[in-house]
Structures are given as structure tokens and as C-alpha cells.
Amino acid sequence: MSFGQALGVLDVRGMAALMGATDTMLKTALVRVCGIHRVGSGWVTVVINGTVDAVEAAISVGQMEVAKRGALISADVIARADGDAMAAMPHGQSVRDIALGSSALGLLETRGIVPIIAGADAMVKAASVSLGGWATVGSALLHVVVRGDVASVQAALDAGKMAAEKVGQVVATLNLPNPDAGLASLLPPPVKETALSAGGLGVLETTGYVGAVGGFDQMIKASHVSVCRILSGSGGRLGTLFTGDLDAVEAAAGAAADGAKTAGVFETCHIISIPSVEPLSCFVGEAVNRSVSNNRLAMGLIETRSTVALVMAMDQMLKTANVKFEGSYKSGSFLTSSVIRGDVDAVRTALNVGAVEAAKHGELVSTHIIPNPLPEMNSQLAHHS
């Protein structure tokens, strides 16, 4: 309490802008981070506290810095905030007090999954830096953090930006030579080291789950690759990450794109040859192996932009044909999907009925049938609850 009851609030678009401004605020005046909150679509709020003078000084410089990036939504100072009211709000819940280390901190922010992974790989290949994890703030805005000495971080950021721009959109970069310890709450979860290695890493990016599964199905039928993870990039974007020998990954990529286009909404597909172990640990992580039955029945998928439409469609599907509900998945950006199983004719009948029913109530995005799904898909799919 003695630290000061004044609060400063900064609403910002994007994590690079927020982290840069927060670092400046913490260095300008005696304030600390007492809250952070993400509300999607790229909007993030940081809350600081201190004495009125300190908070005013900090917010004034922070606001200016964010405005320079064109990322300011609003800024505010509250002289004496009510403690009980603030305790009932969610922003204080994710404040962490962990050691930050003294090395420089670099951040690359992109729109899309392919550019962030391509950028991360280029960064660790270009300079002696380590990856400090990734996160998203919504609207397919993703960021990855690197640590190292100042010169290495800058070299990494230059290389990462160039690599990411080749395959997508870079939103911002940030280099903090001497990051303030108070930034800990803003950092993504740390990376767990793995011993993963592969000749190639493929990233299939889709909008929605149906396209991701359609691409998954086709790539493993076309080539000897293993799908390691379906990663949610927010804003409806999903990244299906697959690895194998470089030749196999290259052969799988074309099939993945075709499969995704047929099933749903394809965005892009990109191959990284001989990926470093760090981006593999960071984005692929430990293998997920859900224990599910070795189901070889036909698979049906339906995706909508309305829960009401999906629930009504699923109810009709189960009433009309001999199919079983298997699970659901939300991709963000209002996309919601469900999966059924049954024999091919039953699944086809169910999807036709479901499509008609869904369209009566809301936006139907896609339906797709996989007549003969390979059993190795089962343990990696994200809709199993």
C-alpha cells in the first residue's frame, strides 16, 4: 500500500508497442506493473501503480511512445483507486514476479503463424540468441521473444524481420538492450527444451479447423511426414505443423495446400529446411498424444460462425443419420466447429442435413468429409475434449 495508490492505465494495440512503452514507463518513474489484461483483437491493457506524480510522469511518456507507433487506444491516470473494486477486476491475476535476467530482449511481432515461425528460425540461425517463447494478443497477431547480448539481438531481429517479411506481414520489432525486471508479467510462457530435430518443418496455415484437418489428412496420405501440432494463432488462424525428411515435407506441402483448399479456407503453406531445435521446441513442443480409439470410420466436419447454428445442425445430424458426435473446436474469430464419425453414407447424409440447418440460423463456413481417415490422425487432432 505504501507504494502509492495512484493507477495508470494504458490501452494499446499489439505487444511490441505495449512492452516498449512499459519498459520506458518503468525506467522513467518509480512505478510498477500491477496488472495486464488481454481482450482479443490485438488489444492489451497494462496497469501500473505508484504515487500520483510518478504515475503521471510514466503514463505521459508511455502514451507518447505508443502514439509514435500509432498503437494508442487510450491512457488514463486515477489518483486514488478503490482497492476492493480493483481486486474484483481481472487485470491483477496474471502479474508474475519472476527473474528476468540481464540480457537484452528482442521481440518480433507478425500477423500470421507462418511469418512468426519463419522469423523465429531465422533469428536463432543468424545470431547467438535464445528463444523466450511466443504468444498471441488476438487477430492473428503473434510475437516471439529472443534473449542475448545487444548486438546479437539486433542481428537476430534484422534477420527475423527479413525472413518473416518474405512470407507474411511484420507488424513490429522491438529491441530492449536492458529490459526492466518489471516486464516479467508481459512475457510469454517460457519454452520447455526438447530434443526435437527434423530435416524439414512445414507450416500449413488455415482460417478455421476444417481446412486444417483437410490439409492434415491429405499431407499424411501423400508423404511420410508426422503432424506434431495444430497451433492456435487467434483470429481464426490455425497452424498445422508437420515434420519429416526435407523431401517428404516438400512433397506433403502441396497436398496439404490442396487438402486445405478443398475442405476449408487455406491461407498459406511454408517450409523451413533443417529447422533449429529452438523453434521446434518453442512452437511444436512436446508431442501431444491424446489416448483416443483407433477409429477408422469416416469423419465429417462442420464449421460455422454461430453457436446456435452449430448446435441446431448437430442435433439434426444426430437425429437424421447413424453418426456419432466426436468433439468440437473453437478457432477464434467466431469460428466454431464439430466433428462426427460414421460410415461414409451416414456422414454424407448428416453433413448435407447439417449444412441446411446451420444456414437457417447463422453463417455456415464449411463442411467436409474424410471417407477414410488414417488412424494416426486421431491422437493429434485438437477437437477431442
Binding site: 474484483a88 488476438g138 453457436t307 466454431t336
Partner: protein
């Protein structure tokens, strides 16, 4: 139960109003709700007649604050509907007495100021702040009717000029199940 009623809106204030109106209009049980990134859906059940009546009332109440409202009745439902409900009404949860005030905006920052100003303006407490993504944030305050009314007036003055203001509403006597479904233990999404 013979039927399920569903109401879907942008934001979350609309389904809070819908849930309250539905339960006051007919014999229906509030089951819970879910969010798909800014759009939320309310679920309740009852006899077909009750669900139909409740749905009309709920739809109308939601239209008071939300633009487009999607509503549907599912008769003789397959049990699968239940898997879509991610935040449930907690049966034995104690709820505060009095009125409920809602203030919904895009963006979180302004809620720090408005909640602070509202608890200072009148004898109300912040019950819950719901974040349903796509930037939508809704603050729920509780207190006696006059206090909530006064607090909301202050909150509105602070945010109604903001382009991100979505709406506010007062429920004088909220149904306890509404407070349970959208309360601190009711779940975030």
C-alpha cells in the same frame, strides 16, 4: 426436459438480460452459456411451451442492448447440446441481494476508471468483469436499486462519449441463476 432455448448476441450483456427475462417469463432453467470470441450464446431448458414463451421474452430483452439477436428452440434435443455449454450456473452458489447493473464496452482500460468511479459514487460493489474477447468487456455491479442506478449514471457519463461504448442496463431484481451463471465462479467463457 422437452426443449432447449438458445439466444446468441454480440457481447455478453445481451444474454444476461435475455436470461433474466426468460426466467421471469416462464418456467425455464438457466443452464449456462458459451462464447466464440465476442459472440455469446445462452442456453435454458423447459417444456416446449415455456421455452417458446421464454425465448420471445429473452430475444426482446437482448434486442434492447444488442444489435442482431439469433434465437432458436430445439425440441426433443439430443444430449449433445450440453457439450457446447462452457460456463454453467452453479446451483448452490450464494448470490448478492439487490439490483444488477451492466456496463459494456470494447476495451478494458475504461473499466478501471468507471468501476472505480461507480463504487465511489454510490454504495455498490463490483461483482464481476467479463471478458468475452473480440475486445468486449462487461462490468457487473451490484447494490440496492437506487445505488446501482446512480452508479450506472456516473459510469455512463464517463464512457458514453467513448466510441467503444456498447451499452448499459439495470436489472432491478435479477434472477439468482443469472447471478450464478455470470458470477465470479460462473466461469470466464
Amino acid at each position: 426436459m422437452a426443449a432447449i432455448g438458445m439466444v446468441e448476441v454480440e457481447g455478453v450483456a445481451g444474454i444476461i438480460l435475455a436470461g433474466d427475462a426468460a426466467c421471469k417469463t416462464a418456467e425455464v432453467n438457466l443452464l449456462g452459456w458459451t462464447s466464440i470470441g465476442g459472440f455469446t450464446t445462452l442456453f435454458f431448458n423447459g417444456s416446449i411451451g415455456a421455452v417458446n414463451n421464454a425465448l420471445r421474452a429473452g430475444e426482446k430483452a437482448a434486442q434492447g442492448i444488442s444489435g442482431r439477436v439469433t434465437a432458436a428452440v430445439l425440441t426433443q434435443p439430443e444430449p449433445v447440446y450440453d457439450t457446447y455449454i462452457t460456463a454453467r450456473s452453479q446451483a448452490d452458489m450464494a448470490v448478492p441481494k439487490g439490483a444488477l447493473g451492466l456496463l459494456e464496452t470494447r476495451g478494458y482500460g475504461c473499466h478501471v476508471r468507471t468501476n472505480d468511479a461507480m463504487v465511489k459514487a454510490a454504495n455498490v460493489t463490483v461483482y464481476q468483469v467479463l471478458t468475452v474477447m473480440n475486445r468486449v468487456v462487461c462490468s457487473l455491479i451490484v447494490g440496492d436499486v437506487a445505488a446501482v442506478k446512480e452508479a450506472l449514471a456516473v459510469g455512463q457519463t464517463l464512457v458514453s462519449s467513448v466510441e467503444n461504448y456498447m451499452g448499459s442496463a439495470l436489472i432491478a431484481q435479477p434472477v439468482p441463476d443469472v447471478l450464478r451463471a455470470f458470477g465470479p465462479q460462473g466461469g470466464s467463457k
